[in-house]
């Protein structure tokens, strides 16, 4: 009797598991849920969640299950184990996440060996997508904004000289290289390059900014990682009276990250940034996105470019799930994504079929005061920007030898 019950229960369980499997797609998410990147992880995670919530109809009849792993830090080691276990233990169909570039670099061999689609939702070092044929990036490369801003600085802002201050780690160096290359190609001159400490802790920016101020450039291009650094940059810029000295602060959108912008207050006014997203972009998708975000996570919160990386990444995943009818196979998934077009909150995006990197618009914006809040006014736009590093095959961005 008991045996029979067990058999029946076991049969029912097996059936249930089987039917669930037919519809369920498991997405293994690796993000730093603790440590210095916890804030970013939350943004990307919420971006993904929000897409699933807003597009519940579009996801059906499939069920997307997120399996989250904390990678803790940018050491590479924890991320590697997380990815390894997501592949071998949880048998995920798709990998997603990667805030930190070193983690994406460390994970690359496993992603390649695991033969699963891997969607990078933030990590911005340009050449990462070359490291595994299964990497697809829905975020950005440092070159997107840096290169576009170099050109815009010379042509739109009519600047002749610039000082570059950057956080001394690969994205910072990438950003410096991208900006310098296009700014100087367009007749500008970078007169000083100031490494401003590592990414681990926010330094006191005063000495670096003091040095930049003494050089009296037209522009001060700053790259710092998004987050706490940005707030300190803007404060220091204002407190040292650099605006009054006629030096414009420019940079990729990391320095006016939406989540930090309002706290900067009037100190942020006048900042000029180049980026692919900010919450004030005027398009219907973004209106809907921002509104839903505030409803979901509180009126005081705001999405930002990291959240959009997660949102668009999830859109790409849902697209693949539908295109492949829930049976995820990596080569077919890549085929489905190559040339995939999507109306994102950041405007139209597509995946470059050659590099598997994102192609998107870049917006030149200026921070102004409007209705008592800091508002990012778009003052210029470049359509369909590709990662210039891979376009021009610079250094490690050259396609890997076959």
């Amino acid at each position: 009797m008991i045996k029979r019950i067990i058999a029946v229960v076991a049969g029912a369980l097996a059936l249930g598991v089987a039917s669930a499997q037919a519809q369920e797609v498991k997405v293994g998410v690796n993000l730093p849920y603790t440590g210095i990147g916890a804030e970013f992880a939350q943004l990307v995670d919420r971006g993904m969640e929000l897409y699933l919530k807003l597009n519940a109809d579009r996801v059906k009849p499939y069920k997307i299950t997120l399996i989250r792993r904390d990678v803790k830090d940018p050491s590479g080691a924890n991320a590697k184990i997380a990815v390894q276990e997501l592949l071998t233990q949880d048998n995920v169909d798709i990998l997603a996440g990667w805030i930190y570039s070193p983690n994406a670099i460390a994970s690359a061999p496993i992603v390649t060996a695991g033969k699963k689609l891997a969607v990078i939702m933030n990590a911005g070092t340009a050449h990462i997508t070359n490291l595994s044929p299964y990497y697809v990036r829905t975020s950005f490369s440092m070159w997107h904004a840096g290169y576009a801003l170099g050109e815009a600085s010379a042509k739109i802002l009519n600047a002749k000289t610039a000082v570059v201050g950057y956080t001394d780690f690969p994205p910072g160096k990438d950003s410096l290289a991208a900006f310098k290359r296009s700014f100087e190609a367009n007749g500008g001159k970078v007169i000083d390059e100031i490494p401003m400490g590592g990414a681990g802790a926010v330094p006191d920016f005063t000495p670096f900014f003091q040095r930049a101020k003494d050089k009296k450039p037209d522009l001060f291009f700053v790259f710092v990682p998004a987050g706490d650094h940005a707030a300190a940059v803007v404060k220091t810029y204002a407190a040292l009276g650099m605006r009054e000295a006629g030096i414009k602060l420019i940079g990729p959108g990391d320095i006016t990250q939406d989540t930090k912008l309002q706290a900067m207050g009037s100190a942020a006014v006048g900042l000029i940034t180049m980026h692919h997203y900010h919450a004030d972009l005027d398009n219907p998708e973004n209106k809907r996105f921002v509104e839903a975000w505030k409803k979901e996570y509180g009126a005081a919160t705001t999405p930002d470019f990291m959240a959009v990386g997660g949102y668009d990444g999830m859109a790409a995943i849902v697209h693949v799930v539908h295109a492949l009818k829930g049976k995820i196979e990596v080569d077919a998934a890549l085929e489905a994504l190559k040339g995939w077009k999507f109306a994102s909150p950041r405007g139209p995006i597509t995946i470059d079929p050659v590099t598997r990197d994102i192609v998107m618009n870049e917006y030149l914006s200026e921070a102004v005061m409007k209705d008592g809040r800091v508002y990012q006014k778009v003052i210029g736009k470049i359509d369909g920007v590709k990662d210039a590093c891979k376009e021009q095959k610079i250094g490690p961005c050259a396609p890997p030898a076959k």
Binding site: T34, G198, D204, A231, L240
Partner: protein, 291 residues
């Protein structure tokens, strides 16, 4: 003339940075010197205090200065409770057990704050009066830095007076130099520990709030800057208020200058500097050899 303004701005910036280091580190130095307790949770108290200050301003609209007072008091009280309940049990334990305990405590502080408030940086809006630039006659400089310098000087003078001129200060000095002797003189060591610990944590909270303008404020604050605080304590000498003060100024100014003129060196200078200073004076610049 331009050179003069340059040097002035450098000194002002470095001294202001040093003041923040001093305010946070002084409590660590005294507790480590007095109790021989390796309190790695000190940065955690600075972080908690900073949060108390930021939350008071955000939720109740309290002004900056009252919020600072609130942060000091609440952190001092909380730390006094922790000291009586938990720390006191470990005074006779090995240093390494103390390390384990305080690191565990930091982990719990970070996780709790992350869960309750969230992982993001807490903006701490300064009053308009403290923003912008101030004309010092010989140069224009960041108002807040100048204010910090003044506050730092007031604090160090106050602490010096307390240490050198009051009964409790004399007791602390006696206990730092020779605990057994102090005990035999009838000083209530337990009470002294609690008081100093609470006061030191309160100072850390104050430093967390005052320094947020430069250093930011998020849960990881508890660990991010701990190395800097420890460097200041080691260079200044254990249990020396004036030692910590000069060490913080020295580190602040040298770090600032080197960063400005040789930014390519990154953080290497501060570490190289510490190594040289400690090899030259292993007991700290102002410490005395204890036997």
């Amino acid at each position: 003339m331009i050179f003069g303004a340059d040097v002035a701005s450098m000194l002002l910036g470095g001294v202001a940075a040093g003041m923040v280091l001093f305010i946070v580190s002084v409590g660590l130095s005294v507790t480590m010197g007095l109790m021989g307790f390796v309190n790695l949770a000190h940065g955690g108290f600075a972080m908690l205090g900073g949060y108390a200050i930021a939350q008071a301003m955000k939720l109740w609209g309290v002004g900056f200065v009252p919020a600072l007072v609130f942060g000091f008091v609440i952190t001092a009280l909380a730390s006094a409770v922790l000291e009586r309940l938990l720390y006191a049990r470990l005074y006779r334990a090995s240093e390494l057990d103390q390390v384990l305990f305080t690191i565990g405590l930091v982990f719990m502080m970070i996780a709790s704050v992350t869960l309750l408030v969230g992982p993001e940086n807490q903006p701490l809006r300064l009053p308009a009066l403290l923003q912008g630039q101030v004309n010092l006659g010989f140069t224009h400089y960041r108002t807040y830095s100048v204010v910090l310098i003044v506050v730092g000087i007031v604090i160090v003078s106050g602490l010096w007076l307390v240490f050198e001129r009051t009964r409790i200060g004399a007791q602390i000095r006696a206990a730092v130099d020779n605990r057994r002797m102090a005990e035999s003189l009838g000083i209530n060591i337990g009470r002294l520990f609690t008081l100093t610990f609470a006061f030191g944590s309160g100072m850390a909270a104050l430093g967390g709030g005052l320094g947020a303008e430069f250093l930011g404020l998020d849960p990881q604050y508890a660990l991010k800057y701990l190395v800097y605080f420890l460097i200041v304590v080691a260079v200044g000498g254990l249990g020396r208020v004036t030692g910590v003060f000069y060490a913080a100024l020295l580190i602040g100014v040298l770090d600032f200058t080197l960063k400005k003129y040789v930014p390519q060196g990154g953080t290497a200078f501060i570490y190289a500097l510490t190594i040289l200073l400690l090899l030259w004076r292993p007991q700290g610049l102002f410490g005395t050899k204890t036997t």
